[in-house]
Amino acid sequence: MKRDHNHLQPNPDPSSLRGAPSTGKAKVWDEEAAQQDCGMDELLAVLGYKVKTSDMAEVAQKLEQLEEVMCNVQDDGISHLASETVHYNPSDLSTWLESMLSELNPPSTFDPFGAAGTAAAALDDSFLGPAESSTLTTLDFDNINRKHQKSGQQIFEEASCSDYDLKAIPGKAIYSQNTQPQTHDSSSSSTPTNVKSEKRFKSTSGPPSPSDIFPPPPPPAAASYGIPTDSTRPVVLVDSQENGIRLVHALMACAEAVQQNNLNLAEALVKQIGFLAISQAGAMRKVATYFAEALARRIYRFYPQNPLDHSFSDVLHMHFYETCPYLKFAHFTANQAILEAFEGKKRVHVIDFSMNQGMQWPALMQALALRVGGPPAFRLTGIGPPSHDNSDHLQEVGWKLAQFAEKIHVEFEYRGFVANSLADLDASMLDLRPSEVEAVAVNSVFELHKLLARPGAIDKVFSVVKQMKPELVTIVEQEANHNGPVFLDRFTESLHYYSTLFDSLEGSVSSQDKVMSEVYLGKQICNVVACEGVDRIERHESLTQWRNRLSTAGFSSVHLGSNAFKQASMLLALFAGGDGYGVEENNGCLMLGWHNRPLITTSAWKLTNKTTTISQ
């Protein structure tokens, strides 16, 4: 059955869009609005290509065909293609493809699955100037097809296994098997005119070639394509609303390509992601942009310089503190636990692994000042990374806290320790006083996961903590597993996690705060995706994993009381957009989440065996 395709008209009006996608979101929407009437596809319009929405199916198929052809051409090493190039204006994608295909012979067999992972790549590869060539000998698709088939299926599996938004991905090129297959003269040298009129390729014969079915779908009437069944493969037709889905699909495909070390494919996909991301709005756009950047860094091996300017990271941290309740939640819940542990003690000592600006401690000092019987003597040891500008950052913070303490009449003592890594610490450095005199609490907010980058570091730190003989150890960590051995798993997990996180930021009021918070999170994304080995410090792990680690190390869980829960809930109520946030209790630990997805967890621990004698 000869498929009659809509004749592809050359565009009467020259493309008014320039090749480069517009930078401003408003501009994109304006252009898209202008495009609506012509029935042009909006996504491609952003890229500068005018394609009628009704022609999308055929354009997609032809792109796939073209890509197959060109892939195999490269394998055969046909260099004469490169020598003579004629440049056609690719903005009228349909006719350009026709002319391309007419110059390169159509393949005899065609694997529809092969295009799954590479359809996106086709957009990039086919932008090369078409070459004039006469004939091509029989193209052997087998190896390429199998590889693509595998990758296509893998993409399918990965995408369908993921939950949340990824479940919705329909965007794989699936061809309905109901339509009758075509037969085609599998002669290698077809004349250009033949090719122009018939576009289907099929081979049921030929043992070496896989029995691929490539029946063309009926010409679509509308932009959205029909619902595919499980065993079929709809053509990738992009509704403007489905750009987001396609974007996620592209991200996953790119990560998969990176995992398989298929860097060419990954490179092509990353570029596409960049364009797709611009067409999105809001949180999705930002997340996609950060992930795309991280992927690009990984692909091009352009790793981010790890040690940040300290003052800049401080600023980012502060903005993150202001914009959303995560850090506040962490501080409040940890403080409540520490307060309860310090009940009745006359001298208390807090060792803070995550000193930063010291934002956690004014509230604790105030609470201690107001407790029954008056405040204890409060001693604080702050540990932080070295600052790069020769200023003694920790000392400044200590000074401010001292001033604060003086205001509210709390006896205060401070010491700051600079350490590149917590594993460099020793209990002897800290000038600990006997535990009858001084009660110790250890606090760590988003610091412990960094130790997982070096083997043995976390255990050393745990043993040092045990030497401190704390009444309580409070730990706040991200609730996600970004430390799995498989890159793709980490990528998927972090994509979900940071999408949720960025979503929750959307409701915030101050745009400057929001932007800075996003940069702050973007750095984490970059680290999770682009770095490896000791550089990858954002090794988040879930509560279950931390529980295992801590109980193995000799700590047992302390339940956070209902006071902490109530305070946390009220804190959230005060935040704009407080509807999405929720506090959950999980076996004594408190989790803060956005729309039922837990994002950070506060937990408290004490030593399982508290020995009274001082151990070596």
């Binding site: 409040f332 029954v372 008056g374």
Partner: protein, 160 residues
Amino acid sequence: MKRISPDSPSPQPNLKRVKEDPEPETGGFMTLDENLLYEVLKHVDARTLAMASCVSKLWLKTARDERLWELICTRHWANIGCGTQQLRSVVLPLGGFRRLHSRYLWPLSKPQAASPLPWAPPKIINSKPPARWGKDEVHLCLSLLSIQYYEKMHFTSRRR
């Protein structure tokens, strides 16, 4: 003419008399002694007290008295276990009761209206006196007050 809040107690005789007099300078509340005004304002609710500070400079000065706001705050909150003096020694240096109330206690007592700014108190619709504040609310507000104070202190001295 200055309106007497319905919540204030039955005014003393001299106040009733001068109510007729329109001229601000020569009589009425304006000649009211600070101390008397203070005594009167001791009994009003938060809203009234806030409105009173809009009347005139004298009223502003009096209505901003921390002791009045301390009364407003502590009148309705649960016993948090510390003594008055202890409370004062903490709250006053950190910004005072008026700020504690307007920034934190008052918004917290409102139903969860999503206010445009995180810390701005939402529009005052009803004139009900605020509900009783539990221990946790009070502690939360005190913590927020102290954080806010620290932030200002910390960042005004740094480059910002």
